[in-house]
């Protein structure tokens, strides 16, 4: 066999083999850990937030290749976004940026969205003063 055959496309494989932002943010401002009951995957995202923007994002994932790639890609995508922008983050962005996922694996990108939102909620919980603004979906200026 000369070629290499892969279960996922090149982008997904790259993010699985060389995950970006793997680990935990030190002194994180928000941490979200979520699990998918159906497949048992567990994803944790930690955020460093400064001036209303996500300065750093890191993940740890117990899950299949596309779960790892999804969390890697999600953390890449959200770095530099404002909290409100991040609150509107959708799993479709992950799927698109990864160049597609197999239908049975779309839920992995959903899990990444959920982990991110859980981390943001954690941050907001610690900063109740931001809740009103965020719910209006307006840019949050701190």
């Amino acid at each position: 066999m000369s070629d290499t055959y892969t279960l996922y496309n090149q982008t997904v494989m790259d993010h699985f083999m060389n995950p970006r932002n793997m680990g935990d943010v030190k002194d994180a401002d928000g941490i979200g850990e979520v699990g998918a009951a159906a497949c048992g995957d567990i994803m944790k995202i930690s955020l460093k937030i400064k001036d209303g923007r996500i300065e750093d994002a890191r993940f740890k994932t117990f899950g299949c290749g596309s779960a790892i790639a999804s969390s890697s890609m999600a953390t890449e995508l959200i770095k530099g976004r404002t909290i409100a922008e991040a609150m509107n983050f959708s799993n479709q962005e992950v799927v698109d940026a990864l160049g597609g996922l197999p239908p049975v694996k779309i839920h992995c990108s959903v899990l990444a969205e959920e982990a991110l939102k859980a981390a943001l909620e954690d941050y907001v919980k610690k900063h109740p003063e931001l809740a009103a603004q965020i719910n209006k979906s307006e840019p949050v200026a701190v």
Partner: protein, 421 residues
């Protein structure tokens, strides 16, 4: 990079001798065995020889007891449904072990929708069927008992001779799915007291596209594939002649080489498991220890705190081919019903891969796998929030409980809001 194929349970390469035997049947002897002329008669002769070779592998009396189907799945379907439909008037109850292959389980579920009932007999934590429960499950309405020889997931060798004895006492035909054993372990239909036995050559260096069903002449069975009168009216459809011929040769070679194959794989199996458990902490072998209760080809491993597909993909990128979960359903998300039946913790069932050995594997291969797999585990644990939480004492190990933290499953349930199982 070294390439190590450790997924012989999914399929095996065709042996050169097998391929050579098949070759003439594509372009030269291409006849349909139903034809009454030269071209048909020639392949009919060849099929008869293949039947004899199949019969010899399982110690059947006569090649007339051998039927060809398209694969192991069809053989299971035919055994289950064919016997059920043939004996409808006698009764509509079946008994199967809880760890049968999906081709048996799903056939049974199909029949249940049509009014049959079925008792699933439980197994112990190593996958061995509960013989008392089996005995108690058989009623006067029972028309078939199905217990496989070797479990495809966890390698357990079932006590088929005792199962056969119980079936004989109760006078109920026994179907033994030997897909995971034939070619790797002696199968003797007489010693088993089996009315039906199935297997498929692609699991022992024969081609895909053919399955075998042995049927004792006394067992009543009807066709489930309707049409022409091929296979004595028990399986309609143009026969896959090259695969049948190749399968016969594969059976003959398997019978001859069986002692060598068993010894070779058993040695490697031990080396592999010894290496892995020395090298990796919190790793568990599912099914019996290597030895008389486990087929020599299979290792089913649960490595704690990491998930199976990632292990499989990283193995693949290291040139090592392994299977994740049940080798036949790895496209589905569900964990193997076998691991459920032996009561394996959900966390361990997820981190599950199957390594299956073949005659081409070497000791060097094994040493390479032990080392590579160790690195893979380290890499995946480095990414795993569970490993981190275990190290921080938030959750505990199932394999080696330390008495601190909550269980993985509890933790998973807490964060997902639902029970993991």
């Amino acid at each position: 990079m070294r390439h190590v194929f450790l997924d012989h349970q999914s399929s095996t390469p065709v042996l050169p001798e097998v391929f050579d035997a098949m070759k003439p049947f594509f372009m030269e002897a291409f006849g349909n065995p139903s034809s009454l002329h030269q071209h048909g008669l020639r392949v009919r002769d060849a099929m008869k020889k293949a039947r004899q070779q199949m019969a010899a592998l399982i110690n059947a009396d006569s090649e007339e007891e051998i039927f060809f189907t398209s694969d192991g799945t069809e053989s299971s379907n035919l055994a289950i449904k064919g016997v059920a439909y043939a004996n409808e008037r006698k009764g509509k109850h079946l008994v199967v072990s809880a760890t049968e292959h999906p081709s048996v389980m799903q056939s049974v579920e199909f029949l249940e929708k049509q009014g049959w009932t079925c008792t699933r007999v439980s197994v112990d934590p190593e996958g061995l069927i509960n013989l008392e429960e089996l005995k108690a499950a058989i009623t006067p309405q029972t028309v078939l008992v199905a217990v496989h020889h070797v479990n495809h997931d966890i390698g357990t060798i079932e006590p088929i001779v005792e199962v056969g004895r119980i079936c004989a006492e109760k006078n109920v035909p026994l179907y033994v799915d030997c897909e995971a054993s034939a070619g790797w372990l002696p199968v003797d239909v007489k010693q088993f007291g089996a009315a039906l036995v199935s297997f498929s050559p692609h699991r022992f260096y024969g081609p895909k596209g053919v399955g075998v069903l042995y049927r004792n002449k006394k067992a009543r069975i009807v066709s489930i594939m309707h049409g022409g009168v091929q296979e004595g009216g028990r399986r309609a459809g143009t026969e896959n002649v090259p695969a049948i011929v190749g399968g016969g040769v594969a059976a003959e070679i398997a019978l001859r080489e069986m002692p060598t194959r068993i010894e070779h794989t058993a040695t490697l199996q031990k080396r592999l498991w010894d290496g892995l458990k020395t090298n990796i902490k919190f790793i568990k072998l599912n099914g019996p220890e290597p030895g008389p209760m486990r087929v020599s080809t299979n290792l089913n491993l649960s490595t704690e705190f990491i998930e199976g597909e990632g292990q499989l993909l990283l193995c693949d990128m290291s040139g090592i081919a392994v299977a994740s979960g049940s080798s036949c359903v790895s496209k589905s998300l569900k964990i193997s019903h076998v691991l459920g039946a032996i009561g394996l913790d959900h966390a361990l069932a997820q981190g599950n891969i199957i390594m299956s050995l073949g005659k081409g594997n070497t000791a060097d291969d094994i040493d390479y796998v032990v080392e590579a797999f160790g690195k893979i585990v380290v890499k995946l644990r480095g990414m795993s929030p569970m490993w981190d939480e275990f190290e921080r004492g938030v959750i505990d190990s199932v394999i080696n409980p330390t008495g601190r933290g909550k269980s993985f499953s509890q933790h998973a349930a807490d964060i997902s809001g639902k029970a993991a199982h």
